[in-house]
């Protein structure tokens, strides 16, 4: 009996794709002085649009515009007034949700069901949540009348292009800062539609500026003397460079970097739901998630049973056209990232881990990688230590809770962790000992604007979301 689901693609026309996009500076869309970049659809390798990029002079103009907007308008505007603008942005994102979701899937490669059900609604939710804070900062726990910092320079990655822009812009605006944001070079399109929304919401010119470009534009931005605060989400390597260059400048910095999260499954776990959590933890967004549960630590007594269930489940994941509503795993964002995943997978094989890859069909064109699970992994292997940022899971075993904690914490990172057990006391015992900014219990990869998110050690510092996230944008 075979039941092949007919293709159910979302219409590409909904994305309103334009042949070219321009940067957003001081309330206007203008040509940038940098070399234009071409944004590619990773599922087909075709060029989607040409995007103008910023030059050093553009960065300077943007920071000055943001400063003017901060001094003259935004920094002194009552919170209740700021909130009106932010609510308006939140509503307009929700109204254009379908367009943004399709555009995000085209540009990034993530499946439409994720951009539709997670990225875009959560982006809107972040604006709604932070709009609520704008006139209540007196009650945020930082004393009366906490002051904004000034101009925030923000650099975001390609894995959640619109959502990361929302995570950065919403709290900055709510606290009274102005923004210059650089989206990732491979995924600039939804941030520029967000700029359109910001323009239509009649946010005063210069409050938000969006400058596409590569790493050099990011460097120019974070090192600009007119910037008071830098927020970066991306690789640990770049995060370290930024921290080094900012040392002694007085700029405030928050970093949200890589991770190698442990998802710990005890023998008394709800196994079928643990399997779901493991799948969600590592195959959500093709594993392009800094908090991905990329190390599965499973108690040895249930390892075989769990792995058998896991393989059965992973075999049902549908890899393919990101615009198809039935696709579970979409395209790897770039050829460069695909090469890195392949290189790390090869190291896993040569270091002796036992590779299993889903037998699912994979499109010939585009950047795709079938979901892969490595068993018999030890902490010494590269696939257990390095962030793969792809749909590749490393499975390790443990015998006792102490050993689970020791192995889970045995990483220079510390962004997230998962605990699976039906025993409430064990959840608390473990969460107490895990060095990770977020600890999920009997679930994984759940995001909410009210919950602070951030890391330990090489996963960065500072929090985004919740009351704790406001601190990053206030002079406290």
């Amino acid at each position: 009996m075979t039941w092949d689901y007919a293709p159910a693609p979302e219409s590409r026309a909904i994305a309103n794709l334009k042949p070219s996009y321009r940067m957003f500076l001081d309330g206007q869309f203008v040509e940038g002085g940098g070399e234009p970049l071409k944004s590619v659809n990773p599922a087909t390798e075709e060029v989607l649009a040409e995007v103008s990029t910023a030059s050093a002079a553009d960065v300077d103009r943007a920071v000055k515009a943001a400063r003017r907007a901060y001094d003259k308008v935004w920094g002194r505007m009552p919170g209740a007034e700021r909130a009106k603008y932010i609510y308006r942005i939140a509503r307009m994102i929700a109204e254009r949700a379908r367009e943004l979701a399709v555009l995000e899937s085209l540009d990034n490669g993530k499946p439409i069901k994720e951009s539709r059900d997670v990225d875009v609604p959560t982006a809107s939710a972040h604006f709604f949540y932070h709009a609520g804070w704008a006139d209540k900062l007196d009650y945020a726990g930082y004393g009366p009348g906490p002051r904004p910092l000034g101009v925030a320079g923000q650099v975001i990655p390609w894995n959640f292009p619109l959502l990361m822009a929302a995570w950065k812009i919403a709290p900055a605006l709510a606290c009274g800062n102005t923004v210059v944001l650089k989206p990732a070079e491979t995924t600039p399109l939804t941030a520029l539609v967000l700029a359109e929304i910001i323009q239509q919401a009649e946010l005063p010119p210069g409050v938000v500026n969006i400058l596409p470009g590569a790493g050099d534009v990011g460097a120019e931005l974070v090192n600009h003397p007119g910037v008071d605060k830098v927020a970066f989400t991306g690789s640990t390597e770049v995060g370290k460079v930024i921290q080094r260059s900012l040392a002694g400048t007085g700029k405030k910095l928050t970093l949200e970097l890589g991770g190698k999260a442990a998802n710990v499954v005890f023998d008394d776990a709800p196994l079928d739901q643990a399997v779901e959590g493991i799948v969600n933890g590592i195959f959500f967004n093709q594993g392009h998630v800094c908090c991905a549960g990329s190390r599965l630590l499973v108690q040895e007594s249930v390892a075989d049973e769990l792995l058998a269930k896991l393989r059965t489940r992973v075999s049902t994941l549908r890899v393919g056209d990101p615009l198809d509503k039935n696709t579970d795993v979409g395209a790897i964002n770039s050829g460069e990232q695909l090469a890195r995943i392949k290189e790390l997978v090869a190291s896993g094989e040569s270091e002796g881990a036992e590779r299993w890859t889903s037998p699912c069909p994979v499109p010939e064109k585009g950047y795709f990688f079938a979901p892969t699970v490595f068993a018999n992994v030890s902490q010494a292997m590269r696939i257990a230590r390095e962030e793969i940022f792809g749909p590749v899971l490393s499975v390790l075993t443990f015998r006792t809770p102490d050993e689970a904690v020791a192995k889970a914490n045995n990483t220079p990172y510390g962004l997230s962790a998962g605990i699976w057990t039906e025993k409430g006391s064990r959840i608390l015992w473990m969460a107490d000992r895990m060095r990770a900014g977020v600890v999920w219990a009997n679930t994984f990869n759940r995001f909410d604007p009210t919950a602070p998110f951030g890391g330990y050690q090489e996963s960065g510092f500072g929090r985004e979301g919740g009351r704790a996230g406001l601190e990053a944008y206030l002079d406290v």
Binding site: P7, L271, A308, N442
Partner: protein, 320 residues
């Protein structure tokens, strides 16, 4: 593939049913079910988009899985005869529409159904064992079963003793299912768990395994007389149980959600769960049924829509 007559518990599980203590240990040793997780998974799968040919295939498959049901105090011979006519020819304008899986009636209506379905390859299911509450003595329940079987029922839908289950008397439930199974003879046994009264997913999982251990050919969610009746997450847990049973024993057992499934959209969501949780082998009327009455006409209307490219209306399908 699927017409396996189940008898005793397979040797793998002989120890589990040795005595009351062993059975309790076995059922309580099954992995728990996390409510949030299973509901999230069920909701996620419900977003699958089934279109075009795959939708038409699903509609025809769903029709062939319908246990066309009437279980009313007001049932008459005339009502049962007209139900059987509907079962034979669901849509008179389209003779290629598959027949339904079975009709499902009370024991005293079995003889009428047998006569009305003479010569058709359609199952005759009868509820039994003091349906729907199951509150009677074992001897009456067995007599109820025998009466239906002797009248010609090919499938028996029994109810478990939920009172015994909820008070932890698992062996009593087990032995009752065994006894009914024996009384069924060659008729297939569907064991109704009445999940709306079991309340927790952990209980649903335990009751599913209990029924499988005792030899139920099918596990069925509900009588349709208790709310909530069938839900997607409950059916997920039961599909997982038959999947795991197959992995352990090599035997295929069936699942039947019943009650509250009224639309094609709902039915397709259930089929997606069957496909992706139990596996493609379960997309077969021998292993999956819908206990429903109004669902059939919605399937027929959607089938016409798929073929014609436009909606017709409820006056174009027969009401029986």
């Amino acid at each position: 593939m699927s017409d396996v007559q189940t008898t005793a518990a397979p040797p793998e599980f002989a120890d589990a049913t040795r005595d009351d203590t062993a059975l309790r240990r076995f059922l309580h040793g099954l992995p728990g079910v996390d409510q949030v997780g299973v509901e999230q998974r069920a909701a996620g799968l419900a977003t699958r988009s089934i279109k075009k040919d795959s939708k038409l295939w699903a509609i025809d498959t769903a029709i062939s899985m319908v246990d066309l049901t009437t279980l009313e105090g007001a049932d008459t011979e005339g009502k049962v005869r007209s139900l059987c006519a509907k079962a034979r020819r669901p849509d008179p304008d389209f003779p290629d529409v598959p027949q339904v899986g079975a009709v499902c009636v009370y024991p005293d209506m079995v003889a009428t159904a047998v006569k009305a379905l003479d010569g058709a390859d359609i199952g005759i299911a009868s509820v039994a064992t003091a349906f729907p509450s199951g509150r009677s003595s074992l001897s009456i329940k067995l007599e109820d079963t025998r009466m239906a079987v002797e009248a010609g029922a090919t499938e028996i839908d029994m109810v478990i003793d939920r009172g015994a289950f909820l008070s932890g008397k698992y062996m009593r439930v087990f032995e009752e299912i065994r006894a009914v199974k024996a009384a069924c003879g060659s008729a297939h046994l569907k064991v109704i768990l009445e999940t709306g009264e079991l309340a927790t997913y952990d209980n649903v999982r335990r009751a599913s395994w209990l029924a499988l251990l005792a030899g139920g050919d099918f596990i069925k969610t509900s009588t349709g007389k208790v709310s909530p009746a069938a839900t997607l997450p409950v059916t997920h847990v039961m599909l997982q149980a038959v999947h795991d049973w197959h992995a352990a024993t090599g035997e295929h057992r069936g699942v039947k959600p019943a009650g509250g499934i009224r639309t094609t959209k709902d039915a397709i969501r259930y089929l997606v769960a069957v496909h992706e949780v139990a596996g493609p082998a379960w997309l077969d009327p021998h292993l999956f049924r819908f206990g429903a009455s109004s669902l059939l006409n919605d399937l027929l209307m959607q089938r016409r829509t798929q073929l014609a490219g436009h909606y017709s209306g409820p006056d174009y399908v027969t009401v029986d």
